[in-house]
C-alpha cells in the first residue's frame, strides 16, 4: 500500500507500523522507548506524528508512530506545530526527571529547551522508565528484571536483589539497550558486576575476549537447544573458523 509521509510517497506492507516505514525511508522521528529487537510499546510519546486521510473529512489526529498501523492513503506529517508542542512538552518533562542525561539534554535542545521549565526531580537518576530493559530481558528469556510499584514511584529493578535465586544471567542486554546509560555495570579481569551481583567471566578459548558469564551461556544453550560446547569461543573466532572451513570445502 501507499502512504504519504511529509509529502513523500512511500510504500508499506500490511501489518507494519508508521515508525518502521518512516525509518526505512530515512525520515527521522525521535523515539526513546523503541528498539527493533522488541515489540513497540508507546510509552515515551516522543514519536507522535499528525495523521489524516482523504476520507476523514479534514479530521486530523496525533498518534504514536511506533504503534499506528499503516493504512492505504494515510497522510502523515512528522513536523507540525502540534507535533512540535507535544514533543517539546514531553522532553521538558523528561528533562525535569533526568536533568543529568546528555541524551535528553541534546534532544531537548533540538526542540528549543535548554533548561526544564518544571521542578527537577530530587535525587534524580538516569532512568526514563522507557521499559526497554524489561522488554529485552523478557525477550531473551531470563525475565529477571521488572517494574516495581507504579506511577511516579515506579522503578526498574531485579526483585530479590540480595537473594541468590535471582534469575539474572548477567548478559548485559539491559545495560546495552538502555538509551540513557542508567543501568550501571562493571567488568574486571575475572568478574562482571551488574544489579549488585558478581558474575564470573568466561573467555574465548582462542582470543581470550570476554564471551559472557557461565549463567548466560548456560541460558543461551538451553534456549537455543545448541550444545554448551558451542559457546566456548567468541563470535568472531567462530566466524573465522567457519570461513576457513568454507574455504576448504569449496576450493
Amino acid at each position: 500500500m501507499q502512504l504519504t509521509i511529509d509529502k513523500r510517497s512511500v510504500v508499506a506492507r500490511k501489518g507494519e507500523y508508521l515508525l518502521e516505514v518512516a525509518q526505512r525511508n530515512g525520515i527521522e522521528i525521535p523515539a526513546l522507548c523503541h528498539h527493533p529487537a522488541v515489540e513497540p510499546w508507546g510509552g515515551c510519546r516522543l514519536c507522535m506524528v499528525e495523521i489524516t486521510h482523504p476520507d476523514w473529512k479534514g479530521w486530523t489526529g496525533l498518534v504514536t508512530a511506533c504503534l499506528y498501523p499503516v493504512q492505504d492513503g494515510l497522510i502523515v506529517s512528522t513536523d507540525t506545530k502540534k507535533v512540535h508542542q507535544v514533543r517539546a512538552g514531553v522532553l521538558d518533562l523528561l528533562l525535569a526527571r533526568c536533568p543529568g542525561s546528555s541524551l535528553i539534554q541534546n534532544l531537548a535542545r533540538q526542540y528549543g529547551i535548554e533548561e526544564t521549565s518544571f521542578t527537577p526531580r530530587k535525587a534524580p537518576d538516569l532512568c526514563i522508565l522507557c521499559g526497554l530493559c524489561i522488554r529485552i530481558c523478557e525477550k531473551i528469556g531470563a525475565s529477571a528484571i521488572s517494574s516495581i510499584g507504579r506511577g511516579v514511584e515506579k522503578l526498574v529493578s531485579v526483585p530479590y536483589e540480595t537473594v541468590a535465586t535471582a534469575a539474572c544471567v548477567g548478559c548485559l542486554s539491559c545495560a546495552n539497550i538502555c538509551p540513557t546509560g542508567a543501568i550501571a555495570f562493571s567488568e574486571s579481569e575475572h568478574c562482571r558486576t551488574i544489579w549488585s551481583r558478581n558474575f564470573e567471566l568466561v573467555r574465548c578459548e582462542e582470543c581470550k575476549a570476554v564471551i559472557g558469564t557461565p549463567e548466560q551461556l548456560e541460558h543461551f544453550a538451553r534456549r537455543s537447544g545448541l550444545d554448551r560446547s558451542y559457546f566456548t569461543k567468541c563470535d568472531s573466532c567462530r566466524n573465522r573458523e567457519a570461513a576457513a572451513r568454507f574455504v576448504r570445502v569449496t576450493f
Partner: protein, 616 residues
C-alpha cells in the same frame, strides 16, 4: 431445578407469581453496603425476633433487599404491599413496627420521613420527592427482591427476555434492537453499545470474550456496586444476551475487591443461574452455551480502562496499551472482546423485554434511557438516583437531592469522577446527557455527582483529583506520569499562595501536552478537573496567587483559626481536643487560639457546638 426450555421458565414464573400472591405482608429491609454501614443486620434480626414473639413468622415475610438508593436515611424499611416507608430504623423499633403497623395497621410517625422543604410527614415511599422524580428502569427491582434469590428475580419477570431471545430472535436482530435503542456505554465513554457488539460479532478470531467492567474506581460513584449487590441477575442476564448476540462462550466480570458484598451476591447469582440451566452448557435447551468467571481486581483505578482491565484479567500489571486496533478485534488474549460496564449490561434485558421503540422514548435526542447517578457531597439527600437522560442538574440536586446541606450556598457540582470537571451555578439548567456535559467541560463519566458548597475550595478540589490521579497513574507514559507530578507540584504551590499569575499559563500549557500526548484516557482526561475549575473559578485561583487568600477557608497555609468571642461559652471542649495545645483559656472564659502553634487541623471547628470558631 434445571430448566430445559423457555416454556419451563415461563411455567416456573407463573407458579412463583401465584405463590407470592398468597403471601401476606412483606417487610423489606435494605441491605446495601450503605445500610449495612448503619447496622441494618441488627434491624433484620430484631424483626425476626419480634415476628416470632407475635407468632407471625408464617404470615409475614422479611426480605433483605439490595440498595434502595436513599442511603442518607438508612437503615430503610419498607412495608409492602402498602409501601409504608420507615427511615433510620433502629433495632429497638422493630417490636413497635410489628405490633403497631403489622398488627393494627397504624403508622408510626417518628419513623416517617419529613420533607425538609414542606416540613410534611410522608407515609408512602412513592410520595417522597427523592423517589417520585426518579424513573427506575434499572433500579426499580432492587427494593422488591432478595438479591440472593433467583426465584425473586424470576417472579419479577427476570430471564424472560433471555428465554425469548434464545428461541426466536437471531443474534443479528438482537444487535439491531440494541443499536436501535440508542443505548450508549454507561461507564463514561458513551460509545454506542449496539455498534460495539456488531463490530465484535463481525471481527475475525475465536474465541470471543464478553467482559463486564465492575471495577468502579471513580471516587463518588457506587451505582455499579449497588446493582451487583442488589440485582446481580439483571447484569448476568444482560451478559448472556450479549454473548448470544456476539457469539461468545466465555464471559468475565472484573469486580473491585473493595466490594465484598457485590462479589458474594454475584457468585450466588451465578451459581443459581447455573443450577437453573440459565448459564453454562446448553442454556434453556437452546444449544447455546456460555459461562461467566468472576475476577477480583487488585486495586488500581487505571484498570477501569478497558485495555488495562484486560491486561489485569490476563494476570499482568494494569498498564493500558494503544487502541489503534480496537479491543472488539484484538482484546483479551488478543481475541475479539466486548467490554461493557455493569449498568450498560443491566439495561439490556429491559431493552429486549420492552423493545427499542419503548426505550427510545426515554431520554434525549442522542442519549437514550435513564442514568443512575450517585448524588453525594454537601447535599441533603445523598444516595442513588435514576433519572431519564436530559433532566436538568438543578432538578437532581434541588428537587431530588433536597438542596444544599445546612442551607448553605451551592458552589459547584463535580461530575464524571477524576476525568470529569466542576460545573458552576450557571450550568445547573443544562440537561444532563453525554454530549452537553462534555461541551460544558466535564463529562458524564460513570455518574458521580458530588455537590460542593461555598466552603469548598476549588483549588483544593483540583489538587485533590490530581493527587488521586498521581497515585493511580500506572506510570507507563511520560505525559501522564511526569505531567501529574508537575501539575500536583504547581497546585501545591498555589494552595500555599506561592507562584505568580504565570503559574496558570504554565498549567494550561502542561495540561495541553497531557491531553494530547498521553497514552490512555486516564492521562488524556487528567487535566479536566484543573481545566474546568480554571474555566469557571479562575478568580479563586487568582485569590490564592495574588491576594494570598483562600476564600473558602480550606487551604491551610492561607487561613487562620480564631475564636468568635460572642459565641464562645468557655466550655473547654476545643481546648481539650486541640492536638497542638494551641488553645488557651479557663472554663467559662473566652478561649484563644495561638495561631503560631495552631496546625489548622480543624478539630476545634469540628467539636465546637456553639459556632464559635472562625476560619478565614
Amino acid at each position: 431445578m434445571h430448566l430445559t426450555s423457555p416454556e419451563a421458565l415461563k411455567r416456573l414464573k407463573s407458579q412463583l407469581v401465584r405463590q407470592r400472591k398468597e403471601n401476606k405482608s412483606v417487610i423489606t429491609v435494605c441491605a446495601g453496603t450503605g445500610c449495612v454501614a448503619c447496622g441494618c443486620a441488627a434491624v433484620s434480626a430484631a424483626f425476626r425476633e419480634a415476628l416470632k414473639e407475635n407468632h407471625l413468622e408464617e404470615k409475614v415475610e422479611i426480605k433483605t433487599t439490595g440498595c434502595h438508593g436513599f442511603c442518607e436515611r438508612g437503615p430503610l424499611v419498607v412495608m409492602r404491599p402498602e409501601g409504608i416507608f420507615y427511615q433510620r430504623v433502629k433495632p429497638a423499633d422493630a417490636k413497635q413496627i410489628v405490633e403497631k403497623t403489622i398488627k393494627q395497621g397504624k403508622v408510626i410517625e417518628k419513623l416517617l420521613y419529613r420533607d425538609p422543604q414542606t416540613k410534611q410527614l410522608l407515609t408512602y415511599e412513592k410520595d417522597i420527592p427523592f423517589y417520585n422524580k426518579q424513573e427506575r428502569l434499572i433500579f426499580g427491582m432492587n427494593g422488591h427482591m432478595d438479591p440472593t434469590s433467583i426465584q425473586d428475580y424470576i417472579t419479577l419477570g427476570g430471564y424472560q427476555a433471555l428465554g425469548r431471545v434464545l428461541v426466536s430472535v437471531h443474534p443479528d436482530e438482537v444487535i439491531e434492537e440494541v443499536k436501535k435503542s440508542g443505548l450508549r456505554g454507561r461507564g463514561g465513554g458513551g460509545f454506542s453499545t449496539g455498534r460495539k457488539w456488531a463490530s465484535c460479532r463481525q471481527a475475525e478470531g475465536e474465541p470471543k470474550y464478553i467482559i463486564c467492567n465492575a471495577d468502579e474506581g471513580d471516587p463518588g460513584a457506587f451505582m455499579d456496586r449497588s446493582l451487583l449487590e442488589g440485582n446481580p441477575h439483571a447484569v448476568v442476564e444482560g451478559m448472556i444476551i450479549g454473548a448470544y448476540a456476539i457469539g461468545s462462550h466465555d464471559g468475565y466480570v472484573y469486580v473491585r475487591n473493595e466490594y465484598p458484598l457485590a462479589v458474594k451476591n454475584l457468585n450466588i447469582a451465578l451459581a443459581a443461574a447455573r443450577e437453573y440451566g440459565l448459564l453454562g452448557a446448553d442454556i434453556l435447551g437452546s444449544g447455546f452455551s456460555f459461562d461467566i468467571t468472576v475476577s477480583r481486581g487488585g486495586g488500581a483505578f487505571v484498570c477501569g480502562e478497558s485495555t488495562a482491565l484486560m491486561a489485569s484479567l490476563e494476570g499482568k500489571i494494569g498498564e493500558p496499551r494503544a487502541k489503534y486496533i480496537h479491543t472488539v478485534e484484538c482484546g483479551l488474549w488478543e481475541k475479539p472482546s466486548t467490554l461493557n460496564n455493569v449498568e450498560t449490561w443491566a439495561n439490556v434485558p429491559t431493552i429486549i423485554e420492552k423493545g427499542a421503540d419503548w426505550y427510545r422514548k426515554i431520554g434525549t435526542e442522542n442519549s437514550k434511557g435513564t442514568k443512575v447517578f450517585a448524588l453525594t457531597g454537601k447535599v441533603n439527600n445523598t444516595g442513588l438516583v435514576e433519572v431519564p437522560m436530559g433532566i436538568p442538574l438543578r432538578e437532581i440536586i434541588f428537587d431530588i437531592g433536597g438542596g444544599i446541606l445546612d442551607g448553605r450556598a451551592f458552589k459547584a457540582v463535580q461530575t464524571g469522577g477524576p476525568s470529569g470537571g466542576c460545573l458552576p451555578e450557571s450550568a445547573l439548567n443544562l440537561p444532563v446527557d453525554f454530549d452537553t456535559l462534555t461541551e460544558a467541560g466535564s463529562m458524564m463519566g460513570s455518574g458521580g455527582l458530588i455537590v460542593m458548597d461555598d466552603r469548598t475550595c476549588m483549588v483544593d478540589v483540583a489538587k485533590y483529583f490530581i493527587h488521586f490521579l498521581l497515585e493511580e497513574s500506572c506510570g507507563k507514559c511520560v505525559p501522564c506520569r511526569e505531567g501529574l507530578r508537575q501539575l500536583h507540584e504547581m497546585l501545591e504551590e498555589i494552595s500555599r499562595g506561592e507562584g505568580g499569575v504565570g503559574t496558570l499559563d504554565g498549567i494550561e500549557r502542561l495540561c495541553s501536552v497531557m491531553e494530547q500526548g498521553s497514552l490512555c484516557a486516564l492521562g488524556r482526561s487528567a487535566p479536566n478537573p484543573v481545566m474546568s475549575t480554571l474555566r469557571y473559578f479562575r478568580d479563586e485561583y487568582l485569590a490564592h496567587l495574588e491576594a494570598h487568600r483562600c476564600p473558602a477557608g480550606v487551604c491551610k497555609a492561607l487561613i487562620n483559626y480564631s475564636v468568635i468571642e460572642e459565641n464562645c461559652t468557655g466550655c473547654v471542649v476545643c481546648k481539650r481536643a486541640c492536638p497542638a495545645e494551641a488553645i488557651t483559656g479557663e472554663k467559662n472564659q473566652v478561649h484563644k487560639i495561638n495561631s503560631e502553634i495552631c496546625t489548622r487541623c480543624g478539630i476545634c471547628l469540628a467539636v465546637c457546638k456553639f459556632d464559635a470558631i472562625l476560619v478565614e
